[in-house]
């Protein structure tokens, strides 16, 4: 019974609210080999597309989690139901995460087939950057109740990595291109902290 309802919620929700987002994320993956070389790359060069471009998927999917209910009238109706509203939002996040992981995995395998040196740590590192970037946008969107602010925050964080690398420290997204993987653990922690606190703050201040 629960799985039947869950399937319905996820499929309806995705079909009506997120098709464009998933397609845009797919577009990012398809565009990557056009912009970057993906063949015959060593580990450092292979990190470039995985860090510079694929993380944009997170910036597209994660800030938009609260977007369909920006209209308060719809939000009230959805909130009045037995299934917790934030639970629905969490499911969206989870679906986005699964989609991102699958696409990143597929891309990594493609790079491998093009004789590039791609390792498990590159794959995991790419996911860490993706989720960190997305989580920054998610947090801003959750707290401000404005999806544009969410996208803006993700883009700002992305740009900071080009111009303010030293100031970002362990939250630098493009560390693998310099051969460093330590930052990825911190990015994972950052993602979790931002997502959890986004949900908590939203519940405290928006869902009174």
């Amino acid at each position: 019974m629960v799985s039947g309802c869950l399937a319905k919620i996820v499929s309806s929700d995705t079909r009506h609210n997120y098709v464009l987002h998933y397609l845009a994320a797919l577009g990012v993956v398809l565009l990557t080999p056009v912009i970057f070389g993906v063949s015959r790359l060593d580990e450092l060069l292979a990190a470039q597309p995985l860090e510079f471009f694929l993380p944009l998927m997170g910036a597209i999917l994660m800030p938009a989690v609260f977007m369909p209910e920006q209209n308060e009238s719809i939000r009230e109706v959805v909130r009045s139901k037995k299934t917790p509203y934030l639970g629905v939002c969490f499911m969206r996040l989870l679906c986005g995460a699964v989609f991102i992981t699958a696409l990143t995995g597929a891309f990594v395998l493609y790079m491998k087939s093009m004789d590039s040196v791609v390792t498990m740590r590159l794959f995991a590192g790419s996911l860490a950057s993706t989720f960190a970037l997305g989580a920054a946008g998610f947090f801003a969107s959750a707290v401000s109740d404005n999806v544009i602010v969410g996208y803006m925050t993700a883009v700002i964080y992305y740009i900071c990595n080009f111009g303010l690398k030293d100031k970002l420290g362990v939250f630098f997204l493009f560390s693998m291109t310099t051969g460093s993987f330590e930052e990825k653990e911190w990015l994972c922690i950052l993602s979790v902290v931002l997502v959890v606190s986004g949900f908590v703050l939203r519940r405290l201040f928006r869902e009174r």
Binding site: V19, L45, M114, V147, V149, Y151
Partner: protein
Amino acid sequence: MLFGKECRRILTSLTFIIYCFVVGLFFVSQYIEENKGDPYIPDEKISEDHDVIMNGAVGNLANEYLANNYICYPYGFYKSVRLNEDDSQKVEECLLEVTGLTHDELMDIRDSGEHYYVEHGLQETMYYEIGELPVSDTITYERFCELMGQVDDILGGGSSYKVEDLVVTYSYVPMTEEDREAVISDLYEKDRVAGGYARLFSDYVGIDLGIMPVFVAAALVSADRRKRVSDLIYTRKISSLKLIFTRYAALVTMMFIPVILCMIAAAIQLIKYFDFNDLALYRMFTLPTFWLLPQLMIVTAVAMIVTEVFSSGIAILLQFAWWFSSIMASGAKLSGSISKFDLVCRHNTVFGRDEFMLSRNDFIFNRIFFFIAAIVITAITAYVYELKRGGRFHGIRLFGKDSIFRHKA
């Protein structure tokens, strides 16, 4: 007055506050903190010596041709290109014409030298040590450029044989002491100091202005729809042209104010570190305004029309793509290569006046083009708004049955 009211709306919007914060943050961290009166003088200068350029390009091309591995940066990122036989043949023809060699002579040179292997991913590429190749006496520089352009086309663009970048890629020679003195003298005498710093200022701030305004503009335009007041505004007396242009003017004005404040801060910094008599301080305002205002205008105009026709999400996506490709296309060449349609014009040095002047005409065309285009696009936005107001157009939805045009009940 509507203009004042729109400005006030923008002032209190969260996206604008974040925009101001970001412009200020990047300005302080990248410009103010990096420029404390002691500009870095590069070790090399552009010589524009045709022989130097041709020798450099030919040597690089020969190595890459023989290894069949060309390093390109079409979007500022590394891309290794391998050609099929036909394309490789075309490159060889260009190479042979430039060097004046025959195919056999080239192969002899190749075979006479050592070879070595370089790992590229899971494969190894063989390179040949061939030394310097001659440049044909009969070839003119113009013909050389033509041939290099053909090679760049074959490689898909972004190669080091791109004609516009040949000078900045191959003509660098070490700076002598006299050169260094000349460069500093140019800064003081031709640029009056402020001119050089104005270019650097515009470079840094221009990066933000290529993307940040889209959020403020998209948020304002979509606010009517989001807050469901569109019908209330549609039924007012004000003309669509007046409404849209007033909003546009308010957006551009408000978003340029933080830029002006940064200009003032930069001017104050110049006064702090340089003798006031050496400064033509007005250049810290005139050049950045000419440089940055058209850019801000075009980004805002495009954001408005795309949001009006599609949605704010698509406006952000498209603008990001445009900004990203503009930033990355300039690649590692951060000065001296401004083209007619670059959104973000780069010039990441206080010096390089001569390099900048090489692209001066293109730069002026670029900014005037965007200025006019921004006005035209805003006028089209007003037209679209009028259509929506009259119920003749409801925006375009990218997916859905029946039609790509939205239907309203």
